[in-house]
């Protein structure tokens, strides 16, 4: 069974285990428990609906951080062919918190870039837990410029707690590296598609996140600050993270309501990690459709629409005098 069980899905997992055990029992005995099993399976179906169709913001935060949640490299493997990873920013180093390269999507050449978490402690240390330094953003920029030159669409996967808050990162211009990407991504004349697959943490997420289409997996989050960070600032206590997750409006559906995200990509019940292939298929369709729409636009239409997309985000009022 699953190695990692989240708090809110415990009842589901317990029932699943029970059914599995009954099945095992009947395999090697004369007992006929098929009626009982059938009943339990019905109950499981109902329980799963109850639990997964009514996930609260905090449940989704947990799901977005699930240790088994598919990463950028998992999706690259399932969505593209001929992926060739390319390294380094040509200025300082190679930041493994971001992976990037060229590949084919349905036979079309594309450039793919994404934050990359590790799957275990060792890999997480190498990849700095998916929290980039400036050289990561500059590597991404280098490859986006290359994509622009050779007229390849750019597809980015967003999955980071944030840009790394470290001394060296500040010294090498973390602010400038992120800011530069925001500006340049505003001007590339190839389609840019951004997909939030896990945590979309603040400026560090946005640094790969300016595009013509912004999609979010159903159980991903996108926020200006982590719920824990917000709680410690607003209520001086990180324990209020759950409350902050609700107030801050960080789920995929919240962002759809705020007109930031174009589409929520439905997840496999119980989370994307339950079936990476099926999940990739869902994503594949969304990318195909978006590319088809965007390739019809002229370069100037593409830029105009991208500008308007961002210009329209926000809510304000003009005072009546």
């Amino acid at each position: 069974m699953m190695k990692h069980v989240l708090e809110f899905e415990k009842p589901v997992m317990e029932l699943r285990d029970k059914i599995a055990e009954l099945k095992r029992l009947t395999e090697n005995s004369e007992m006929d428990l098929s009626d009982e099993i059938q009943k339990l399976e019905k109950r499981l179906e109902k329980l799963e609906t109850d639990v997964y169709d009514r996930m609260q913001p905090w449940d989704r935060v947990q799901m977005a951080r699930h240790p088994e949640r598919p990463t950028t490299l998992d999706y690259i493997e399932n969505l593209f062919t001929d992926f060739l990873e390319l390294h380094g920013d040509r200025l300082y180093g190679d930041d493994e918190a971001i992976v990037s390269g060229i590949a084919k999507f349905n036979g079309t050449p594309v450039t793919v870039i994404g934050h990359q978490r590790g799957k275990d402690t060792k890999e997480n240390i190498r990849r700095n837990f998916g929290m980039p330094h400036p050289e990561g953003y500059r590597k991404a920029l280098r490859l986006m410029k290359q994509a622009d030159k050779f007229k390849r669409p750019i597809i980015t996967f967003i999955d980071t707690k944030g840009a790394y808050p470290g001394k060296a990162a500040e010294e090498r211009g973390q602010s400038e590296a992120i800011a530069r990407n925001l500006l340049e991504m505003g001007g590339f004349t190839v389609p840019i598609i951004c997909i939030v697959i896990g945590e979309g943490g603040s400026g560090g997420a946005l640094g790969l996140g300016i595009g013509d289409r912004i999609f979010m997996l159903e159980n991903s989050t996108y926020s200006v600050i982590s719920p824990e960070g917000a709680a410690s600032i607003l209520w001086k206590d990180a324990a209020y993270a759950q409350k902050a997750a609700e107030s801050m409006k960080i789920t995929s559906y919240d962002l759809k309501d705020l007109d930031i995200v174009d589409e929520v990509i439905p997840e496999i019940r119980g989370g994307a990690h339950r079936d990476i292939q099926a999940q990739s298929e869902e994503i594949k369709q969304v990318i195909s459709q978006a590319l088809e729409e965007l390739e019809k636009l002229s370069e100037s239409q593409l830029l105009e629409e991208r500008f308007n997309k961002y210009k329209n985000i926000g809510e304000y009022t003009h005072l009546d005098l």
């Binding site: 808050p165 001007g187 600032i233 705020l258 500008f307 985000i313």
Partner: protein, 285 residues
């Protein structure tokens, strides 16, 4: 009104002694946080809010900056009456906005408009940290993006004076997206050959530092300003070491190649005029 009453009353107060310096009356006197000396506010203001003793650059309000740096009566304000909604229905946000509106006489944390600097037309945006720490919500993002667009349409330079703690938390991810809005607007200005000068003042951090503030054709800063992406406390917790005293100051950024120049406030007008002149078609007559 209420404020007038209090400041009049204070006029009869005697100059506070060193011992009483904690309770320096707000209206009339001001203490320099750097050298601890106390001055008449007027004296400080005449010196462009730079401490006459230690050169510490005190905060300046948006309108003070306009008055000191731009040509007299040349300012025409844009979007003055744009105010924030409470898009996330965030608890207490409206009250906080109202409080800051009364306190600062501003509708939001940035003032934008068209003004002349030594005869040169400019589109200008001046942030004011008295309003919600200068944080960037929908209104700040929209006003700055509009100013950039106006600069582009009128083919005039865009100058910004940043002063911001970063994101407006009460507007959540809408606040984050203003980084995108302003940067994409700057891209359009850039693509048409428009000039953008960024002047970072104390403090310029977080999402403002990681968007327009760092994107000038010229990135300048006032001396001693705090400029950085992540907060000192968070960095110290992350790397488990104490950071040097001058970490994330203007001078630190200059040393690390992140700034074109640190400019004393007294020289800001003339330096900006020089840049504008070099960029003006045919030069100044």
């Amino acid at each position: 009104m209420l404020r007038d009453f209090f400041s009049k009353k204070k006029r009869y107060a005697s100059i506070p002694s060193q011992e009483a310096k904690q309770d320096v009356p707000e209206g009339l006197m001001q203490k320099c946080p750097n050298c601890q000396k106390i001055f008449y506010r007027k004296e400080l203001n005449r010196n462009m809010n730079v401490c006459p003793h230690c050169d510490h650059h005190h905060r300046m309000t948006a309108y003070e900056r306009l008055e000191h740096l731009f040509d007299e009566d040349s300012f025409v304000e844009w979007d003055k009456h744009m105010i924030s909604n409470n898009p996330l229905d965030f608890p207490d946000y409206e009250e906080k906005l109202e409080k800051d509106r009364l306190k600062s006489d501003l509708n939001e944390a940035v003032v934008t408009g068209k003004a002349k600097l030594q005869g040169f037309d400019t589109a200008v945006a001046i942030m004011d940290a008295r309003f919600r720490m200068g944080s960037m919500g929908s209104v700040v993002g929209e006003k700055i993006a509009n100013a950039i667009e106006n600069a582009r349409k009128e083919s005039i330079p865009f100058i910004i004076f940043t002063a911001s703690g970063g994101a407006r938390m009460q507007e959540g991810v809408l606040s984050l997206m203003q980084m995108g809005k302003t940067s994409v607007a700057l891209q359009r200005l850039h693509a048409e050959g428009g000039l953008f000068i960024s002047v970072m003042t104390h403090p310029t951090t977080g999402g403002v530092s990681a968007s327009f503030a760092s994107l000038g054709d010229y990135n300048f800063a006032e001396p001693g300003a705090l400029i950085g992406f992540a907060g000192r406390r968070i960095i110290e917790q992350t790397i488990r070491e104490k950071l040097p005293e001058d970490f994330q100051t203007s001078e630190f950024l200059l040393e690390h190649g992140q700034l074109d120049k640190v400019i004393h406030r007294h020289n800001l007008r003339s330096t900006l005029a020089t840049v504008l002149d070099i960029h003006s078609p045919g030069g100044e007559e």
